[in-house]
Symmetry: C2
Subunit: 200 residues, 2 copies
Amino acid sequence: MARRAGSNGAETAEKLRNAALELFARSGYAAVSMRAIAAETGVQAGAIYNHFPTKQDLLNDLLQVHMETLLSSWEEAEKPDLAPPAALENFVRFHIRYHLTRSREVFISYMELRSLEGENFSAIEALRRKYESFPRAILEKGASDGSFDIIDPQVTTMAIIAMLNGMTTWFRGNGRLSLDEIEALYVRLVARLVGQKKED
Amino acid sequence: MARRAGSNGAETAEKLRNAALELFARSGYAAVSMRAIAAETGVQAGAIYNHFPTKQDLLNDLLQVHMETLLSSWEEAEKPDLAPPAALENFVRFHIRYHLTRSREVFISYMELRSLEGENFSAIEALRRKYESFPRAILEKGASDGSFDIIDPQVTTMAIIAMLNGMTTWFRGNGRLSLDEIEALYVRLVARLVGQKKED
């Protein structure tokens, strides 16, 4: 994905990625030119093509790095030995904290899926399915060991993710509730969705 | 909002609105010109300005009509005499059915909020708050008559809406579950979120 070995090259690619993220989030992929991205970073218009041959490559790189970083961060955060209720709580807290600081990435991942071409789109969809498989596995484990009473594992997984993503779009740090309080509320809401035994 | 009295005028405005909806959903507001919208409808490029003086007026009109139609449709669907559990079920079914057939409007309402200027943005936000007040009132009524055990009325309302909106983005009619089945599942999931007594 056009990530250069040299540290200057890597730095430039990172600058370009950041500028593209900002401009795509502000105006949308179709309205932003490679020239505008170069101008935002002070990189020569021609030099951008050494890193990203096309604008599609740049968008694809952004979405792919976002999904891969999410997956590797979850692999670090995951504690495979936890019982399903604690494992689910760990997932909820991870998902909220991870996405809250990446609102532009979340916005673009949702909005510019329409702009990804064929194979790029399929690859991102596959990474999403992989991410969704983690909470789903927790739900299924909890259903079989009796910690949860799941209505439908697939639909409940999608419901949980949508609910948590929604929170990251409306939450403002200066609101009625602190992040810790909101997180604790969502842990309880998710426990209800999965029919967790002895929930409040 | 540039809605003309004459039936021809109204028809033209509707054509322009539909074309804008399609083009904004495909490429984003910033990438679409008034000329492109006119070309899509066969309306003379100059004539578009009789209906919508600026592209901002057109976007604002789309989002405002979307929210106002949602609100008036809910006012028709609402059955104020229902007890809270049935009232909430009625809301869930309404919200799913209403949004499922309007994926472009939902997408643009979320995505192009960024493109609305000051007062237009505030007006749409106010209509949203108004819509959210309906399920919230049901939750509060159910909390006070003992039908529900609500964790936090505001957060639970946002959680319900996000969960339902999520469903309308991933649901495909040809999937494992029919719309009736999915709707019934979401009714049960929402009943769990509000701590409805005697839920399954």
